[in-house]
């Protein structure tokens, strides 16, 4: 369409300007992207109120993951999806995944073989299995990999010149310049690269079969084998305090232990030697990674856990465009909360109803599903609705989805997430995505001219705290809608009567417009990696 207008005009420069303007006009305001009025009318506050009252009712006992009451909520959502005309994915409205409470098993061993001489170390005193450890026994050469970081945006890679495939790696905690406000990472604030979980994943990605984690001595005095305080080793700690883990990640795990000063001395002669090595890395950000010659490591950790099933609820509408229907726009909200208070006194409210967190977002999701499903006109791209379980346990539902996506992630053009959308000022919504999703932010602002909400942009620090994070990790542009924290956050007083369903309806109308436009536009939106 752009080039055809240009050819009809005599002056190419004018034609160019007009054609670009026309493109912008059509992109933003043409009838093609205008949502069907009928569809918007399907978003009703009264229906949102019904969803809220059910999902946040005492009978659902706080929708803990996993629990029979969460399953009831799942069936309620699936029934609504069906009622609104959404199609089950692969014949099923439920995407089942498993969670488990992992405990330390009995077989845990750590031996260093240095120049042929073996030294076996004692668990808890000399080494401690970490929470990310796997159930495996491995043996291999030991490679020092500095901080164990691969960070292209900082032009830093501890693995640049070493091959760790089939080997065990020794990793320093934290990151270069940890105490330096001017550090090339994020100053004194620990970047995600400094987190052990990310270092271990990076080691696995590079083919390492085991990892030893040591506190970096340059910035920390206490070189202790801090791992995970497994109740079998700390009998005072209650077994029920062990957090749930997502079972699908268990098979990928490798043995990972924190090590003590004693082990550092055995490897380097002294803690000072390791400190000097760290100083050299920090001095010019040049990795000092190397094979520790003459040293082999035997490492075994064992874990046990029983899987329990839970589920995301999914429904979709196939796009009407032959070419674009293989691409999908995802709308998501978590429907779980944190259950009931244990050992509460008789007569005291003990149910965490989670009306705002996140019956509100789930009700909004259902309102969107109703609008898309009941609309006689369908979008060009497909749209997928996901109610996530296990968000409160660590974003499990969205993690499970991106690990085993129902539609290819490379064809997922955007994700809109709703978490806590029913409280605070009646006309204001906070929107996250400024850092990574500037195109979506722009579209959201343009569409909001038809809705009139006040938009606030203070959600960036909460990026990793709701389900959009797992889509962002896969470079999928996202928007995160929330109306923010309040005094009832994670309290038994988070009741349905405190929720403003009219506000939820307004946010739903905005999200519908944004989603409709993204689902109909030929444009692929950008995901912007964070840069210094």
């Amino acid at each position: 369409m752009m080039s055809r207008i240009g050819w009809l005009l005599p002056d190419r420069r004018i034609a160019g300007v007009i054609s670009v303007s026309a493109a912008i006009f059509f992109l933003a305001f043409s009838g093609k992207f205008t949502p069907p009025r009928d569809a918007l009318n399907f978003i009703e506050a009264s229906e949102i109120r019904q969803h809220l009252n059910f999902l946040a009712s005492d009978s659902l006992k706080g929708r803990n993951t996993p629990s029979p009451e969460l399953n009831l909520a799942a069936h309620y959502i699936a029934d609504r999806f069906k009622e609104y005309g959404l199609t089950p994915v692969n014949g099923n409205y439920f995407q089942t995944f498993h969670v488990s409470r992992v405990r330390l098993g009995k077989e845990n061993h750590f031996t260093l073989i240095k120049n042929g001489k073996s030294t076996e170390y004692r668990i808890k005193r000399d080494y401690m299995p970490m929470d990310v450890t796997g159930s495996k026994a491995v043996e291999g050469d030991l490679v020092f990999v500095g901080y164990g970081i691969t960070a292209p945006e900082y032009q830093y890679d501890d693995y640049a010149n070493v091959d760790v495939s089939g080997k065990i790696v020794l990793i320093l905690r934290h990151e270069p310049g940890e105490k330096d406000p001017q550090s090339s990472f994020e100053g004194r604030k620990l970047s995600p690269y400094g987190q052990v979980k990310m270092k271990v994943q990076n080691a696995i990605d590079h083919g390492a079969v085991g990892a030893l984690i040591v506190t970096d001595p340059l910035n920390h005095r206490a070189i202790r084998p801090r791992g995970f305080p497994w109740p079998s080793l700390f009998p005072n700690l209650p077994d029920e305090a062990i957090p749930l883990t997502l079972s699908i990640t268990e098979k990928q795990k490798i043995p990972v232990v924190g090590i003590s000063k004693k082990v550092v001395r055995a490897l380097f002669g002294s803690v000072d030697s390791l400190r000097r090595l760290q100083e050299r890395i920090d001095a010019d950000l040049k990795p000092q990674s190397c094979l520790l010659a003459g040293i082999r490591v035997q490492l075994q950790t064992s874990t046990v856990g029983e899987d329990e099933a839970t589920q995301n609820v999914v429904g979709w509408i196939e796009g009407r465009d032959r070419n674009l229907k293989n691409e999908v726009v995802v709308f998501g909200a978590h429907y779980d909360h944190v259950g009931v208070m244990k050992n509460a006194a008789a007569g005291v409210d003990s149910i965490y109803n989670g009306a705002d967190d996140n019956a509100s977002g789930t009700s909004l999701l259902l309102a969107l599903a109703a609008a898309f499903g009941r609309s006689p006109v369908k979008p060009r791209r497909s749209v997928l609705f996901i109610a996530f379980a296990g968000e409160e346990k660590g974003l499990f539902g969205s993690r499970a989805y991106v690990e085993k996506p129902l539609f290819p992630l490379e064809n997922t053009v955007a994700m809109l997430n709703f978490d806590m959308v029913g409280r605070n000022a009646p006309d204001t919504v906070m929107v996250g995505g400024v850092t990574h999703s500037p195109d979506l932010i722009r579209i959201n602002e343009q569409e909001n001219r038809f809705v009139g909400l006040k938009l606030a942009y203070s959600l960036e620090p909460f990026y990793a705290r709701s389900d959009q994070y797992n889509f962002g990790r896969h470079q999928i542009p996202y928007l995160f809608y929330s109306t923010g924290l309040h005094e009832d956050y994670h309290k038994v007083t988070d009741h349905a009567y405190k929720i403003n369903e009219y506000k939820i309806a307004m946010i739903a109308k905005l999200a519908f417009r944004v989603g409709w436009r993204v689902a109909n536009s030929g444009e692929r939106l950008r995901f912007v990696e964070k840069k210094k």
Partner: protein
């Protein structure tokens, strides 16, 4: 985050308490004296680094503090125990956490509020009672809670001189904001030398020890369990004639695990490294 902050401050209090449990004397009998009318001012400098992991995310909280504490002697009770009032005259704490930096300077609700302590001659705490009503909330409640933690090294009843050594293992319990905490330090003291320090004839005593901490309580509907252990060491100067501490320099490394059950199940391992200096002001 506020939860993590109070925990850190609580730990600082406990560690200071434990860190200061260490002193002794020469061919001397060692005993604390708080004669009526004695006024002792101590300057206390502390720095603490708490590295904590929560659901796989590491969080660091650093607290640097400087305070002046006043101890006013009240003589002895009918059982021969020593009595004194103690209060904070000034305090400045700088807290660094992922939520940002905070500096607390001389909070009026804390300054000058007195408590009375009754202590055995050898340093065993018998009783602490509030003299001035202390109404503290939030972070200040924890800073103020440290006053309860003020404790003294348990001395030996044997006469000691240079080269003498003894081991003290004293169990102590504290209750703070619904948490009951038991501390079991085992500390070995060695008298190294007789020295003149800050105008006092002192015994320089080197000490090294271990500690085990356990605790439990309820907060915000959740059960909280503490389990930790660690080691410390340092040097202290005790003036046997006057029966008072003159200088303490202590460092400790503690692994502390916190388990929460209730609306969330969570176990948070942490390592707490502390350095503290206490000096008697003229």
């Amino acid at each position: 985050m506020q939860g993590k902050m109070w925990f850190s401050v609580l730990m600082l209090g406990l560690i200071l308490m434990w860190g200061s449990q260490s002193m002794a004397g020469g061919k001397y009998k060692l005993a604390y004296k708080f004669n009526k009318g004695d006024q002792l001012r101590y300057k206390i400098e502390t720095s603490m680094e708490n590295v904590q992991e929560r659901m796989g995310q590491e969080i660091q909280i650093n607290i640097d503090g400087e305070s002046v504490m006043l101890l006013q002697g009240e003589g002895r009770d009918e059982d021969g125990n020593v009595k004194f009032l103690f209060s904070i005259e000034s305090v400045k704490s700088h807290i660094q956490s992922p939520m940002g930096d905070t500096t607390v300077v001389n909070p009026p609700e804390l300054l000058g509020k007195r408590k009375r302590m009754i202590l055995s001659e050898l340093g065993k705490r018998i009783k602490v009672e509030e003299v001035d009503t202390l109404v503290l909330t939030g972070l200040m409640a924890q800073v103020g809670g440290q006053q309860n933690s003020l404790q003294f090294p348990v001395l030996t009843k044997e006469s000691v001189g240079v080269g003498s050594s003894w081991t003290a293992a004293e169990v102590d319990s504290q209750v703070n904001r619904g948490m009951k905490v038991h501390i079991r330090p085992t500390t070995t003291y060695t008298v190294e030398a007789e020295v003149d320090t800050l105008g006092y004839k002192c015994l320089r005593i080197r000490y090294k020890g271990t500690v085990k901490m356990t605790g439990e309580g309820q907060q915000m509907g959740m059960k909280i369990v503490l389990d930790g252990d660690g080691e410390n060491g340092g040097v202290l100067y005790f003036a046997p004639k006057e029966g008072r501490l003159v200088y303490v320099d202590t460092a400790s490394d503690i692994d502390m695990n916190v388990a929460l059950t209730g609306q969330m199940n969570m176990t948070m391992p942490s390592t707490i490294a502390t350095r503290a200096k206490m000096v008697l002001l003229k």
